[in-house]
């Protein structure tokens, strides 16, 4: 039977990338000198599964490289080689190289062979240097058997498959013979068999066509899972089958405790008191060692292996393509619109059943909301997906800069929309780099300032109202107001005599073209300034703010909407049109007295609002709509805020607050200044969703023109 393996490629790549992430995380947690065995095992498992997968799929370069890596890791695991900084660096580089190779293979691009073979050489040199009789990489899997006293575990280095095969009674009658299956398994690799005969009744109670036996089997980890599954293919539905990978670490006790009688592992059936495997033939001619019994500690303590296994995935989840979820989301969006339409219709309905109809519609609305929230949750991912890249980055940067920095991550489980998540990565990277490069001082300076030599960069995420707040803070020197002012004056961003509050000075760093970096390092000062951070965050419908205290550090706060698919909006009427103003940008709404409006020459109309004068934007003028009234005191003014500026939006009426599903205007029509998207209302009409910062820009351009 030939199986088209390419269908598994995507899953392999995805799993491998995830596995590499966990390998990297484990490497970063690794204590130099006294590494935790479980971490080394995690790292080893990743290398091993990538090796296995790439060999299966014929990615020979990856397989060969991971093989060398595995050999090195095996030395670490067995303790013959200490974990040093150099080794840890080598391993981190290996992660990068493996990632690059996988990406190349995935994109069907050539692999950077030079880089790979260089590092592979380094790996092999490291192996050779530490373990005198340098094992040639090709003999790696056999090496441990020869080197240690663990002759009983020849493939110990590779981990093991544990297969629990529990046939149902009718398995035999359906034409399946466990004997045949076990024979096939034995052909795949050295098979360890443990029989569970507890269910075997006395002879006269046996129904000869029924199967009463069950087995726990073990195979070397190098056997592909697919091959194992194929053996059981025909028995599917006639047995309970679990196939799991045992971490290699648990091999060792197995080998040493192998002679233990089976009685230790299985509570003996009452009718068979004596140990069952007391006399094991040492030279059994059988193709597999007969009932090489693993010790109780191994089979009867699943609790121990569980956490380790969870690292490799069966977490009760399934992979679904983003496309499918978006499709679902879209359909739910349409449903919301239909439901809104029905509700609107229902409210005008008269007749004997009108009440029932409205009750049904109310129920529908509740269910819709729940459905919508559930679908939204499907798109939510913990922010740890983004945070996880920082430990490595901070480590690399601190090494390069010679600073001492501890990275603190909190709120990693805070969930947000995948789209937001993907776009928040770069701004965060920039902020963290900034903190490390400019924020945290060098150890000497810190000690001189009475602070601990090690600085702290803290990344935190939490939900705040309907938003998510991500904070990047450091305990460094804080923003240097003097330098910022000087720079801003030099760049002409402010006049030479302007006096600014501290907060206003801090705002300056978000201005385009502003960077205080004296020289361009390859870290923060690479021409991408804080203005890009602000722009990116703004594109996500969020905002970024900074608070800083000299000598105490600075804190950047990014506030983001939970999702980009739905917005809480206030619908307003202008003439016959309806517009949606996002609630997040509304300060308040008010009715104007004719006396509250002033006309300023050259600046249009302004209104007095809490001691401030705000420009008034007449939406009907901006969008060319015929209003119900042009007199300001006959309509309403919505005070909205964007980019730190406030304006009064003149509208005819407020209609109501509702959640609206955002439909992209760019995708369906084209970009319009001052409009961030559109939505479909309950009556089927289209309403534009206003982009307040854009409106302010558009209005000021009109005013200037």
């Amino acid at each position: 039977m030939t199986v088209d393996l390419t269908q598994f490629h995507d899953a392999f790549f995805e799993e491998s990338f995830e596995a590499l992430d966990s390998m990297e995380a484990a490497l970063l947690k690794l204590d130099i000198g006294s590494p935790e065995p479980e971490l080394i095992n995690t790292i080893f498992r990743v290398a091993h599964s990538i090796k296995g997968g790439s060999a299966t799929f014929g990615f020979s370069e990856i397989a060969s490289f991971t093989h060398s890596l595995e050999t090195l890791l095996d030395e670490l695991r067995s303790g013959t080689m200490p974990v040093t900084v150099a080794v840890s660096d080598l391993l981190l580089k290996s992660v990068d190289v493996m990632r690059a190779m996988l990406r190349a293979v995935q994109a069907k691009q050539p692999i950077d062979s030079q880089r790979v073979s260089d590092l592979q050489f380094d790996l092999e040199v490291a192996i050779a240097r530490k373990s005198e009789p340098a094992p040639p990489p090709a003999a790696a899997s056999a090496a441990p058997a020869g080197s240690g006293g663990s002759a009983a575990a020849p493939a110990a280095a590779l981990g093991h498959w544990r297969i629990r095969f529990h046939p149902y009674r009718e398995l035999l009658a359906r034409g399946n013979d466990p004997l045949r299956m076990l024979r096939e398994l034995a052909e795949l690799g050295e098979l360890q068999v443990r029989l569970d005969a507890q269910m075997l009744p006395p002879l006269h109670e046996i129904s000869p066509q029924d199967c009463y036996l069950a087995w726990t089997l073990e195979l070397p980890g190098k056997v592909p899972e697919e091959a194992i599954r194929q053996v059981f293919e025909w028995a599917e539905g006639d047995c309970d089958l679990t196939i799991e990978r045992l971490p290699a670490e648990q091999e060792a006790p197995a080998a040493s405790a192998a002679p233990e009688p089976a009685a230790a592992a299985t509570p003996p059936p009452t009718r068979a008191p004596e140990p069952q495997t007391a006399h094991q033939p040492s030279s059994a001619p059988a193709p597999a060692p007969a009932a090489a019994v693993p010790p109780a500690s191994r089979l009867d303590a699943p609790g121990k292996s569980e956490p380790a296994l969870s690292a490799l995935g069966d977490s009760g989840s399934i992979r679904v393509s983003v496309e499918k979820i978006d499709e679902l989301m879209n359909t739910v969006g349409e449903l919301v619109i239909t439901q809104a339409m029905l509700s609107q219709l229902g409210s005008h309905f008269d007749g004997p059943d009108a009440e029932k109809l409205r009750a049904g519609l109310a129920q529908l609305e509740r269910n819709m909301r729940e459905l919508q929230e559930s679908v939204m949750r499907v798109r939510m991912l913990p922010i740890s997906f983004v945070f996880s890249r920082f430990p490595r980055m901070v480590r690399d940067l601190t090494q390069r800069l010679g600073k001492q920095i501890e990275l603190k991550l909190t709120g990693e489980q805070t969930e947000l929309d995948k789209t937001v998540l993907e776009k928040i990565g770069d701004p965060l990277v920039h902020l963290v780099r900034n903190c490390i490069d400019h924020g945290i001082e060098y150890p000497e300076a810190r000690i001189a300032a009475g602070k601990p030599a090690e600085g702290t960069v803290h990344l935190d995420a939490c939900h705040r109202g309907g938003n998510i707040a991500v904070e990047v803070s450091d305990d460094g020197g804080g923003l240097d107001s003097e330098r910022i002012l000087a720079k801003a004056r030099a760049r002409g961003l402010i006049g030479p005599n302007d006096t600014l509050t501290e907060a206003q000075i801090h705002e300056l760093i978000f201005q385009p073209g502003f960077s205080t970096a004296e020289k361009t390092t390859d870290l923060s000062g690479r021409g991408v300034g804080m203005d890009v951070v602000r722009r990116n965050v703004k594109e996500l419908g969020g905002k970024v703010e900074v608070r800083s205290e000299p000598g105490r550090g600075s804190r950047f706060t990014i506030t983001l909407p939970l999702t980009l698919a739905i917005v809480d909006g206030q619908s307003v009427a202008v003439g016959t049109e309806t517009y949606i103003v996002p609630l997040i940008s509304i300060v308040e709404s008010m009715q104007l007295k004719p006396s509250g409006v002033t006309r300023l020459s050259g600046r249009g109309e302004v209104l007095s609002f809490r001691g401030d004068y705000l420009p008034i934007i007449r939406l009907h003028e901006l969008f060319g709509v015929e209003p119900r009234s042009r007199a300001l005191h006959e309509g309403l003014v919505v005070i909205a805020e964007g980019d730190g500026r406030r304006v009064g939006l003149f509208v005819d009426d407020l209609l109501g607050q509702q959640q609206v599903v955002i439909k992209s205007l760019e995708a369906n029509y084209g970009h319009i200044d001052g409009v961030s998207g559109a939505t479909i209302l309950g009556d089927g009409s289209v309403a534009l969703i206003l982009d307040v910062p854009g409106l302010i820009r558009a209005a000021s351009m009109r005013a200037a023109a």
Partner: protein, 125 residues
């Protein structure tokens, strides 16, 4: 996850098939009771084998099972032998193996039944 369990009550002798071939011949003369297994001890002969073994179960003398003619055995056959040996042993009665059958050796090894069948020392001699 499958929720069928092994513990469900056994179907009682669901398909009783007529035996095509006698699974065992008995020799009633010798003092230790001897039981010669037929060439095939598979699912098809399981009913007959069970009956044959059941007859020897309460034999006070040790039972010698002659496997020299055995050519083929499967899980069903081995399972019956295992139950037989286990029952005899629980009752404190011995079972001995005579002759040698590669098929039995291999199958018992694969299924992890060697210990239970006490095959280890005897077959091989």
């Amino acid at each position: 996850m499958k929720n069928r369990k092994q513990q469900t009550p056994a179907r009682k002798r669901a398909q009783k098939r007529p035996t095509k071939r006698a699974p065992a011949r008995s020799r009633s003369d010798a003092a230790p009771s001897a039981l010669a297994l037929a060439a095939e001890c598979t699912l098809a002969q399981a009913d007959a084998l069970q009956a044959e073994l059941a007859r020897r179960l309460d034999e006070p003398q040790r039972v010698i099972v002659d496997v020299s003619a055995l050519q083929r055995i499967d899980t069903a056959g081995l399972q019956l032998l295992a139950a037989f040996v286990q029952d005899r042993r629980t009752a404190g009665r011995a079972v001995e193996w005579r002759g040698r059958a590669a098929a039995l050796d291999a199958a018992a090894g694969l299924l992890g039944l060697r210990g239970m069948l006490e095959l280890a020392g005897e077959v091989g001699q």
